[in-house]
Symmetry: C2
Subunit: 112 residues, 2 copies
Amino acid sequence: MSKQQSEVPYGTLDLLILKTLETMGTMHGYAIARRIEQVSGETLQLSQGSVYPALIRLEQEGWIREEWGISETNRKVKFYSLTRTGRKQLLAEVASWEKATALVARFLEASR
Amino acid sequence: MSKQQSEVPYGTLDLLILKTLETMGTMHGYAIARRIEQVSGETLQLSQGSVYPALIRLEQEGWIREEWGISETNRKVKFYSLTRTGRKQLLAEVASWEKATALVARFLEASR
DNA sequence: TTTCGACATGTAGACTACCGACAGCTAGAT
DNA sequence: ATCTAGCTGTCGGTAGTCTACATGTCGAAA
């Protein structure tokens, strides 16, 4: 009945993950999700059903690289980091996001 | 292969239509689509496959009202206008959009 | 007077990306 | 021994968009 209130603006999850990896360096999936939630000010809660498929997709695109390792809490985890093409992709996604928001902003200002 | 480059930011079509009707008053579907394309600076081209289903959906939600009439070009058309709940919905969607963009903006600024 | 382009509305099917709900496994604490 | 938190994943469903098609009308040009 009620409208879906997507916590992550639709289509920005890749962008958020890529940006997180750029800012934080190497991280594992669980920590990436936690970090995104935290920066969003706890309002946003990101489901695993979104994060892991996204990571797999990004890895297949060649934008991130994965590597098994041991976490701070001594668990076997997959560490992810940005690739060179991932950096380019991040720039492209930022640009496209800014274009999109500019478009909507122009609309919201329009009054004639 | 290539990533879908949605011209309308996903989920904002309702917002754009509602805002158009608020700004322009009563309009028919074809004109709404033209107007959205035009304000976007011709870069965006909006397919009918998006607009008409959206209008039907908005009408079913009770946010817009439809009425048959005759266009400037002497054709039988459906005129749409905002309802009272449609106005409230528009406010809500604007707020939610601004919240979403603020969230992403905070992310893009983050550097620690 | 046919015919063509712009105007106008719609539907079907595919696709993307997200979410909720599971399932399962491990380390360390109780 | 059991439990909780950390951690990775899968399945199925859903929303919203796009492409492509189908249908029809008006007015102007040929």
